[in-house]
Subunit: 203 residues, 4 copies
């Protein structure tokens, strides 16, 4: 049987929309959906964030926690401040907790983004009730498929051992582009090169 | 524990898009999705039928059978013939089997529609691997919720006894109208009056 | 200066949504928009007919007359009857007059469709206040461009001689297909062959 | 005959997407469309800016100049910097020149926004070939109507005296809200109070 690896803990500078910081350890027992985004990523604004809002409205909060993660890897001056993301969250009516991913002192993508080896934004991550990685999608994801994956994880007992959700690394994002497309913003090669190395130390 | 009742067998005049007639009995072991529609129902054309097509494209055919059911209860002269529905299926690229619900000799809604006590079109019905009724939705249904319901049914063993999917009689369809709205076409009161009587003999 | 040719008169079997038959001659002095469609043409249902409805809601009825023309060239048994188009008009809330194009005794496309040498459905035709052809579009047409063309024609005096609206034979419809696409339904080659001959006798 | 007043000159801190600053005086002879927006205004991102892009793609550049105006009246820290708007323009593929409206030293809305007495964002302004105000729309505007208004202005001679385009102060924006809705972001009352006074000195 396939062994499921634990999801890396969040490494967040500061939180919005929540009275106290969140940790995956503290959410154990619930399914967790992480919506990694950037406020200036059109694909995040058009479909990633509205989809996360629909998930929060559709499934019981006792079963699933929806979390936004602001993973800024470009335009730091424009979207890197707490004031910028706070204004964005206010105007776009984001109702779930949002953590700001911690920037690396060495440059490159922020630390949680690196720990998950994300390819860009939006990235949707599903973690099961036992804190294990179950799915990671970069780019557009259909509601039908997402609803099915969430229901599968919710149905699992908090103590059972479960098979893996099929989670191919899909994504209609242009594989060669360094800019954002309608589907998402891909990490440029210059940032992904050191990423593999860092991942091993975080995961 | 709640007892689940068997889904009434289909009573169909003729089939399209399939080399041989279908029965629920013959589909035992699979989840079955029935999309009841009328070709001149805007809510069916806009969202009910495209949603059924997405389901067929998303889930394995070994696990779920998607079936259209043409339940004509108005405009019989316009949409009641096999030629009419065949032309519609061709132009709208409907790829799943479609049965034409059998008209009642007594007037009123067609027989399968009556057996399921449907309120109008579109109506989406989910039947589990054991042939039992699990959900019936009239009007618009979100993909997230539908994906979750289907995954729940697919995950069940063909021999297990399972709890009921929550399936409230939702539907944004105007409860007073006798015409179609953007969400669907409701059975007029004049047709639903005899319906209760018939239902008891079929269900 | 380019000479503008008169728009061929409508040759209609019967009218719906109007107390008396319409003629282009009787509408002289107004701009006329003809939306040629088939009730089983997905591109007509999705964008052609809703666009015609928006035109009727946006511009003064003293300036422009919006007319539907049911130009059945396929699936005659399904969509060729008055009952079929009447049911369709009712369910889709078409509020403007609709004429049923007269079928040819020789086979081929109906007579008005032939007189205008239409390539398929939807086709949108603009006729100026003096009854002259000004634009003919097959397939999808942007609202911005259509609004501009209509305003140009409305601004013309009923007696002035005006330059032609630029009306290239656009259309994103697959030029090789004989079936309907999302954009429209093209006349098959077998029907367009005799079309050129007939056109000369009608135009 | 109604007298048309000259459009107030732009008062802009800096320009993007253009090699040299623009002035209305320098654009005399062309129709000018000004799209006033804020980068964190959902109604601007969803429909105002895409509509301006469609206008630029549809009409000849010899006839109409499309200009963006970044009129920041809230969230100055988040969207007030040149870096912020530059990143936004890059990611959202805005191809027309964008000026940053000059902030007032006295507080309140920026100066061009005040000179035009705009109610919020998005606001679309049409100026004729002679530099005169012809239309000002706050909130959502249909493409059909906009296409008609633009064509009317383009058709006017650069030297003729023309009647006013009908330009009611429409807008589906919630009149009581101080936050953004799906349609736009309205100036709060605390900012509009001093606005009337300022307007008279600018207009």
């Amino acid at each position: 049987m396939k062994t499921l690896r634990p999801a890396p803990e969040l490494d967040v500078e500061t939180w919005l929309n929540t009275p106290h910081p969140l940790t995956l350890a503290g959410l154990r027992g619930k399914v967790v959906l992480i919506e990694a985004f950037q406020m200036l990523c059109p694909g995040c604004v058009d479909h990633g964030l509205p989809q996360a809002t629909r998930v929060q409205a559709t499934f019981p909060r006792a079963d699933i926690a929806v979390i936004g993660l602001h993973t800024v890897f470009e335009h730091h001056e424009a979207q890197g401040s707490r004031a910028a993301i706070a204004a964005f969250i206010h105007e776009y009516r984001i109702a779930f907790p949002v953590g700001i991913d911690r920037q690396s002192e060495l440059g490159g993508p922020p630390l949680t983004m690196t720990a998950y080896a994300m390819q860009g934004t939006p990235t949707l991550i599903l973690i099961d009730r036992l804190g294990r990685m179950r799915a990671q999608h970069f780019g557009h994801l259909d509601d039908l498929r997402l609803g099915a994956e969430i229901a599968t994880l919710i149905a699992e007992s908090p103590v059972a051992t479960a098979p893996a959700v099929t989670a191919p690394a899909t994504g209609a994002v242009d594989p060669t582009g360094t800019d954002c497309t309608a589907d998402g913003c891909r990490l440029p090669d210059t940032l992904t090169a050191p990423l593999a190395t860092r991942t091993s130390t975080n995961a």
